[in-house]
């Protein structure tokens, strides 16, 4: 079999075989619907990303404050009774023993 001749024949056959250019019904509507769907998904994912970033920032701030509070309190003399300390702190403004120095 003459392979080169066969190749030529088949390429000529392929050249004559023009593919159809028909488009399925309402194909453009399908594409537009897909694009709209994706745009909504992009907006949703943008929200999710922003919220995730905000949550990460909040966690960082909480961690920093926690660390700062821990080290700040470890430097000062701590009392043995934590509940008494908390009560004193909460009621500090209403402490009747506090005197206001009004002398000029």
């Amino acid at each position: 079999m003459n392979i080169s001749k066969l190749q030529e024949k088949l390429i000529a056959a392929a050249r004559r075989d023009r593919p159809a250019d028909r488009v399925p019904y309402a194909f453009e509507k399908r594409v537009m619907a897909l694009l709209a769907e994706r745009a909504a998904a992009v907006r949703h994912s943008a929200w999710v990303t922003s919220l995730m970033r905000a949550a990460a920032s909040c966690a960082m701030v909480a961690l920093l404050f926690g660390t700062w509070t821990f080290f700040a309190s470890s430097g000062s003399p701590a009392s043995d009774d934590l509940s008494q300390d908390l009560q004193n702190t909460l009621l500090a403004s209403a402490d009747p023993t506090d005197t206001i120095d009004t002398t000029p």
């Binding site: 066969l6 390429i11 056959a13 028909r22």
Partner: protein, 213 residues
């Protein structure tokens, strides 16, 4: 995922751009409208160029569902990358380059049928081959069997060989054009075209061996 236009995209059927009907606007106006956030202006472009994109995709994929997937991907890519279209060349050229590249990606992802034997050749194809063996002149090029046979052989080629043969031999494009479409250098296109022809001859030789030895 980046979408063209920093403005919020609007897919509502309400017309924008001074309420000009989309079909009366030029291509450049439609593209500018899409880039400024009016995504509905993309539809006339899809309507106008889909036949061409479908015809190209049908050269590389046989099943209609695969063809539709390719074309859909082309349009989604075109929408995403519309900002990169600078308007120096016609939109159609830019789109066809994207189509061919998407088809090439498709071929690279679907290489499963390449190693099959020629035992599944249909009777009309076998008859056509036998006619060719008996008298090469009597085997008509426009016979359906020849078209089926060449499609079968093209499916067995490597993706790069199929792409370069399709562009060079079937679509009659120049080496320079192919270089622009594929992004390969001119010498690389020439090398790949040479190798593609050799690959095709090798497949034909294997087919002849399977059938006649």
């Amino acid at each position: 995922m980046t979408l063209p236009g920093s403005a919020r995209l609007d897919f509502s059927p309400v017309r924008h751009s001074s309420m000009i009907p989309p079909m009366e606007r030029t291509e450049a106006e439609l593209i500018a409208a899409v880039l400024s956030g009016d995504s509905a202006s993309f539809e006339p472009l899809v309507v106008k160029y889909s036949p061409r994109v479908f015809a190209t995709a049908r050269r590389y994929a046989r099943r209609e569902s695969e063809v539709e997937d390719i074309v859909q991907e082309v349009w989604l890519k075109a929408f995403d990358k519309l900002r990169t279209f600078r308007g120096e060349a016609p939109f159609e050229h830019w789109l066809m380059r994207m189509t061919v590249r998407t088809c090439y990606d498709f071929l690279r992802g679907h290489q499963r049928n390449r190693e099959s034997s020629f035992s599944e050749i249909s009777e009309p194809e076998e008859d056509w081959l036998e006619r060719f063996v008996a008298d090469p002149g009597s085997a008509a090029e426009d016979a359906d069997a020849a078209k089926l046979l060449v499609r079968r052989i093209m499916e067995k080629l490597s993706p790069s060989a199929r792409l370069v043969l399709t562009l060079l031999e079937l679509e009659d494009r120049s080496v320079k054009e192919i270089s622009k479409i594929t992004g390969w250098s001119v010498p690389l296109v020439k090398v790949r075209a040479f190798r593609a022809r050799a690959e095709m001859r090798k497949i034909l030789a294997r087919m002849a061996q399977d059938k006649y030895l």
